[in-house]
Subunit: 451 residues, 2 copies
């Protein structure tokens, strides 16, 4: 499901590689992955996807079939095919640990490698880092909207392909979800998995009551009954009806699930029906196109729902299904570089982010050059050196704990879901000076005399 195919890259990475090789441009390049701006209403990002990015770099190989295709395409020289056949990632990776809070323009991952290689890996690196960072950030917002509820990823079916479903399960768990309905997330990432029943289960039985009983007897430790196939409140009544028979068999109903209509209104009426029927311990679980705005409203209105399945709007990040992110050349052969395209300017050079804390809260970041003397804690850490992992990457549980601590330490206004006060990120004087110098040097697209 999660495979790394060397040809999963934009064709231009390969055509540029040929250009670099022919021009002898194989010196060290520094690229940084960062996000340019926050989606409307957002206040922060949660960095995620590093584990898969490092796996990709470590596994990067052009196999015989890839090389055969490249050779047969007629687009590439023999030297290029030869070079790709021997290509391994022997560079460095510096990165924010997964689960870190971060902000626009801050490098999340930095790659230092020979130019053709650092360029080649751009497409898949962005593909891996962008999506998990997107989903982790979205999931953190959902978690902030419902701090004390069970939150489960229900989004496999509408995720954009199988890899997206698995990555969404991982990224949402990392950012504070309790688990996923996607079975494969358990063997693959040791993520807790949750499951109830579908409408078809109820429909297939001759009656709702029969469906409830057969399900409970087959899954006595996990009895969550879906009550809205025909009529939600009647469904709740039927739960009250079957509860004593199940109790007699030693089976406890854990919860009911509502998946349609006015969830708040149904939940209140269902709560009353269950309580009247003596089922005060039976929880209410809800799903159906939920987003953080719904969770905030339910919380404000004290709607008696104990847990939520969040599907489509989590795994597609439906309100903003992408981040404006980039992977940009910041230095080549020791010379800082910068892109100046309108609205897409970047800060040049190898950068580091320093974070200051005050009373246990994040108090402000400084984006600076790597060597500058800046107050605070440097956030980017060494991950890979000369193609070798510096240490084991933090595992998912550690990244999840890190994300929880980071989110808890956010200033209160940033925990609100409508962004008002942006987090202070200062650009160091050293970095500003370098940008001016690089602009001067490349004014007019490079030194005139060089053409």
């Amino acid at each position: 499901m999660i495979g790394h195919d060397a040809l999963l890259t934009d064709l231009y990475q390969l055509t540029m590689l040929q250009g670099y090789l022919e021009a002898g441009m194989t010196e060290t390049a520094v690229f940084e992955f960062f996000v340019r701006r926050l989606p409307p209403g957002w206040s922060f990002f949660i960095a995620a996807g590093l584990a898969q990015a490092v796996d990709y770099l470590e596994q990067l190989r052009f196999h015989e079939a890839d090389l055969a295709w490249l050779a047969a395409s007629g687009r590439f020289s023999h030297a290029v095919v030869e070079y790709l056949g021997h290509l391994r990632f022997t560079g460095d990776v510096d990165a924010l640990p997964e689960g870190s809070c971060c902000f626009p323009d801050e490098p999340i991952v930095r790659i230092t490698a020979p130019l053709p290689v650092a360029q080649l890996v751009e497409s898949r690196l962005i593909n891996l880092l962008h999506f998990q960072t997107l989903i982790a950030s979205k999931a953190a917002r959902l978690r902030l909207a419902a701090p004390d509820k069970l939150l489960v990823d229900f989004g496999l079916r509408r995720a954009h392909g199988g890899e997206a479903a698995l990555f969404a399960a991982r990224a949402s768990y990392l950012a504070g979800f309790d688990g996923s309905a996607t079975t494969l997330a358990a063997p693959r990432f040791a993520i807790p998995v949750f499951g109830t029943m579908a409408h078809s289960y109820v429909q297939a039985h001759v009656s709702e009551v029969r469906a409830f009983e057969s399900f409970a007897r087959a899954q006595p430790d996990n009895v969550v009954l879906l009550i809205d196939t025909y009529d939600t409140e009647e469904g709740a009544q039927r739960v009250v009806e079957v509860a004593p028979r199940l109790a007699a068999a030693g089976i406890r109903i854990k919860a009911v699930r509502i998946d349609s209509g006015d969830l708040a209104g149904h939940a209140r009426r269902v709560r009353a029906i269950l309580d009247d029927g003596g089922l005060t311990e039976v929880g209410i679980f809800a799903s159906s196109s939920l987003d953080e705005t719904d969770l905030v409203r339910f919380r404000a209105e004290r709607v008696p729902i104990d847990g939520f399945g969040v599907g489509t709007r989590l795994t597609t990040c439906a309100d903003h299904p992408y981040l404006d992110c980039a992977y940009k050349l910041q230095e080549y052969a020791g010379q800082p570089r910068r892109k100046r395209s309108e609205g897409k300017q970047t800060w040049p050079g190898r950068k580091q982010v320093w974070r200051r804390y005050a009373a246990g809260e994040l108090a402000g970041d400084t984006l600076a050059l790597e060597g500058e003397a800046i107050a605070g804690t440097p956030l980017l850490v060494e991950v890979v050196r000369s193609g070798q992992r510096r240490a084991e990457l933090e595992d998912l549980a550690a990244a999840r704990a890190h994300a929880a601590a980071e989110i808890a330490a956010l200033p209160e206004p940033l925990k609100q879901l409508a962004a008002t006060t942006p987090y202070p990120v200062t650009v160091s004087s050293g970095l500003r000076a370098l940008a001016v110098e690089v602009d001067r040097r490349t004014a007019g697209g490079g030194p005139k005399g060089e053409a």
Copy 2:
């Protein structure tokens, strides 16, 4: 990259399977995949993803490691693990050929199989069919917005994972794109691939002119020069500067690319610069957050752009990144079934769609029961019978031709990008009568006496 893992399913499919087996409910079930409603402004869907859905069903196997995980999870009986170990898809598939235009409530794929199997495959089938249908439909809108321009999928980096990138390349090509920048789309699906250069290529060189020359000499048959790294119009001037030197070496510049700022304004000024420099044959290719609204505007304003790279907004379908689709039980053991949840009611029974044409145009569809005598052409065709393909599925080229013909035959108002007149889909009297009958039979969640 595209693998089918049997555990890539929602956990509840497996818990329900245990319920079905324990209740002896293994008779034939009929499920249909369909979309409930059109996103705002849309007028039609393009069915896509069937080839991958059939591959999935054919390859469905629980391997030793899967079975071991299931057994160790403690959630499943020995009988369930045993059943899954022998499970193969031996059912039927009926479907709209890929590339077909379709409309809300019309079945796109119908699965007929023993209930536990037809249920189990729901999650991945939706995951496969939903995404490609979404992207094919979006791509068809982009193609309608720019009928005579080169359109290339640029969306690998922001697609939701690797599978999404590949499927988006496939679905957009199927619906009329000229190709993709994703290299792997060529060996995997025989899709034409396109590539130019990135800003980093220009930045890495000492000057823009050096970058243009080195690229052109390395890729003499595919010279597309990116001119906006520093200043777009100056970049165009530099193209004029290098053109004679390249021409002397027998190298023709095919196009320039603009990737930032006011694309229309830049394109006009760049066209003038190129024309003044005698480069009237050099095309202009544009990219940068493009969507169909931009393409419509450029066309109306006769902006001199010859081709577009469409990335994020295509591969994430950013304006509406999901379809409200479902896979619902319509019949079990010969009995029609129906879900009545608020806002999510379904039409019961095995259905067929009949399409009428007038003067070569689509004139209206009837959604009816399979056996009804209805005027028109039935759209769902036999694809798999008892687990065996009826014939080779149409290949991608045939599906692409089919989509082009279908879109060409749409009534003119449906080709507009702001939907006004909905396409007429009539529900047959037989189907309406059956819905009433099923409701009567299941009023109150099933026959009272059955509990």
